[in-house]
């Protein structure tokens, strides 16, 4: 029996849990852990350049792989710098384990150097957190943290490790891994049988059903089952921002995204539906518009693993608490048992109506000949990569354009901060995403804005060190486009602090960091330019694309209205 220090047990526990990549940044409180890391051959440490960036990289790894993303930072500022990343993962239900150093247990509460109440600061944005009191807590708590982060509704878990718990001079027997059991935590996975029977019936009787997909369907890996169900019942399929990719954008039954900047047909279908079968969604305010006018004619079936999501905003007629994939298996059996199918006549009429809405072509946009329209960038990239690239975004116009115009064909390929809306997310997330899909040889493209990119630009250095060949496309419109759009539309055009007149030369900057970079300025250079970037497989390429400052994200729901009440074109035609 070899005895181990707390630091060695920490490293060994991560190895035993199958961790490949540890995204981290050293500091005083974690010196002993970093020393122990030198002896590990299984863990690859990825040194970020800012704790926010590396924690978002861990998040990106988690989103592409479905595994737990892990990061390690020091106490005090190391831990506070991760808070935005933790909150981002929390809002999007991403499995993340954040190991933070802490001052020694004897110093806690004394305002010691680099001391901060990490458990207190992160409490509202974690699924759970642990403060280790002794070295032997470390393996136990880390295993529990992994279990909590990855089961039920996934989320971030913090493990705070005081410096004296990892002291190399004190050695302990390493506890063999055993199955985690927590008496106070037991998520419901299987749906209620009676409820499954009821929803089978309402599904068979529906005349105007809509299948609505959210991020929970991706967490549950339910893509294949969803496709089957949709085809069997000829269901029109809509997706939230977080659900994009779980149902192929190529499929004719896919109507697009719902909500504020959703397609006209998707929002109309929701508004006129008599049944909304909502899987793994949480009916966020950006989706529902006015709750009082939400889907007035529809019975709502809501399947979600989190009971607190059900009837939180939208009143549910048929709540089912459970894992989407398991519930769909139950539903399939129930459909076979009750021998029901869809009402083809009703579906013919429903689809005819939907095609009419589709005819509005709500995603058509105005082309100006002299400038590149941001929508074109996404369309072109979508075509050139056949909807198969891994795409990360930041937050703003480019994010919505990506959601609207990139035809995602597979789940876990679209990484965006949906809930928290975190600028600066996309680039570092791309680093983790790349490491997650490395073996699949997929291009990983970061679609970002000139504002967003500057929020975690320091990670260019990380990319050089770890040879992360991201393709970064900056939608460079010299403004904070989305805020500017709102200022134009709702603040009488009073442009307040959204001009970015003092941007750096992004091309020169990327080169200074040792990367390839070039600029595209003319519409006719766009396709070839994007292709050129994609063709450079082994290097990071930054493409600064100068695009239209005045582009608006359209269509757009009218605030306070029904889902279907939208402004379709920027010239103000309303419906």
């Amino acid at each position: 029996m070899t005895l181990m220090s707390g630091a060695q047990m920490l490293v060994r526990t991560l190895e035993d849990l199958g961790v490949e990549y540890l995204f981290g940044y050293p500091g005083g409180a974690v010196l002993d852990i970093y020393d122990a890391l030198l002896d590990s051959h299984k863990l690859h440490h990825v040194l970020g350049r800012h704790e926010q960036g590396l924690a978002m990289a861990a998040d990106g790894y988690a989103r592409t792989t479905g595994k737990v993303g892990v990061c390690l930072v020091t106490s005090g500022p190391g831990s506070t710098n991760t808070v935005t990343a933790i909150a981002t993962a929390y809002m999007d239900s991403i499995p993340l384990v954040v190991i933070t150093g802490q001052v020694g247990t004897q110093l806690i509460g004394s305002d010691a150097f680099q001391e901060v109440d990490t458990i207190g600061i992160t409490r509202p944005v974690v699924k759970h957190s642990y403060l280790c009191q002794k070295a032997t807590d470390i393996p136990k708590y880390i295993r529990q943290a992994f279990y909590l982060a990855s089961t039920g509704r996934p989320g971030p878990v913090v493990v705070d490790v005081p410096k004296d718990c990892v002291r190399p001079s004190q050695k302990f027997e390493y506890p063999e891994p055993e199955e985690v059991h927590l008496r106070s935590y037991d998520p419901t996975l299987q749906g209620h049988k009676g409820q499954i029977k009821r929803i089978t019936k309402v599904l068979a009787e529906a005349k105007r059903p809509v299948l609505m997909l959210g991020g929970g369907t991706i967490a549950s890996n339910a893509s294949e089952q969803i496709r089957e169900l949709a085809h069997q019942f000829r269901l029109p399929v809509v997706s939230t921002l977080m659900g994009l990719g779980v149902y192929s954008g190529d499929d004719p039954q896919f109507l697009g995204m719902v909500g504020m900047h959703g397609t006209y047909e998707a929002n109309q279908a929701m508004d006129k539906a008599d049944l909304v079968l909502a899987l793994g969604v949480r009916f966020d305010d950006r989706v529902t518009n006015n709750l009082g006018k939400f889907c007035p004619e529809a019975a709502i079936v809501h399947v979600d693993i989190d009971p607190a999501s059900i009837s939180k905003t939208v009143r549910t007629d048929y709540p089912v608490v459970g894992d989407v994939s398991r519930v769909l298996t139950q539903l399939k059996n129930s459909i076979e048992e009750l021998k029901v199918g869809c009402d083809n006549q009703a579906m013919d009429a429903w689809w005819a109506q939907i095609e009419e809405w589709r005819g509005e072509q709500s995603l058509n946009f105005e082309h100006k000949s002299a400038v590149i329209e941001p929508q074109e960038i996404v369309q072109t990239l979508s075509e050139l990569t056949r909807g198969e690239a891994v795409i990360t975004t930041d937050v703003g116009q480019h994010q919505m354009f990506t959601a609207q115009y990139y035809k995602f064909t597979k789940p876990r390929r679209f990484l965006t901060s949906g809930g928290l809306g975190t600028m600066g997310y996309g680039f570092p997330a791309g680093i983790g995403a790349y490491l997650g899909v490395k073996d699949q040889r997929l291009p990983v493209c970061v679609l970002t804005g000139d504002g967003s990119f500057q929020m975690n630009i320091q990670e260019l250095s990380t990319c050089l060190e770890f040879q992360i060949p991201l393709k970064i496309f900056i939608f460079d419109n010299s403004t904070l486009g989305n805020v500017r759009q709102w200022q134009r539309m709702f603040y009488r055009g009073r442009i307040s602090s959204t001009d970015l007149k003092f941007n750096p030369d992004f091309v020169a900057l990327a080169k200074a960091y040792g990367h390839e970079a070039f600029r595209i300025e003319k519409p006719e250079e766009l396709r070839a330019g994007i292709q050129r970037a994609l063709d450079i497989k082994d290097k990071l390429v930054l493409v600064d694309i100068v695009c239209d400052t005045d582009a608006l994200i359209m269509p757009m729901q009218k605030g306070g209205g029904r889902m279907s009440e939208m402004v379709l074109r920027s010239d103000g035609n309303t419906y």
Partner: protein
Amino acid sequence: MRHVISILIENEAGALSRVVGLFSQRGYNIESLTVAPTDDPTLSRCTILTTGDSDEAEQITKQLHKLVCILRVSALNEEKNGSQERELVLIKLPTPNRNVREDIKSLSDIFGAKIIDVSPETYTLQYVGSSEEVDTFCETVFKMSDVLEVVRSGVLGIARGNHYMHS
């Protein structure tokens, strides 16, 4: 509407702050909160008095249940057989003369309260009852006498009959 929520929670550092944090984070109201370990020292029983409509109460119980450190949650006011609530109050009064002392003593007898501390200048009364009874007792005392200090325990509750919260 008034809701009394009973919670069985892991008796560990930081657990209570998760409960209190949840209330402030989601904009729920805490009228009173009591907590103490149970017969099983690894668990604490916590009773929270809150106000809000029924949707809000439903969300509160769901959100509480979601906390990993919480084992059981129940809304006592929704118990089928009803529930019993008790609150304890301690009141310190000045006793400047014999008349006041006699009045307080007889009031305390009528209510079934106890005088648990006596000094030449003060009495301390203890009274146990439902929140309403405690309110009535306090009002009566306040009308009769000056008051130096009032300490209320907050509500404790338990379901009636054979319903009980088990670990």
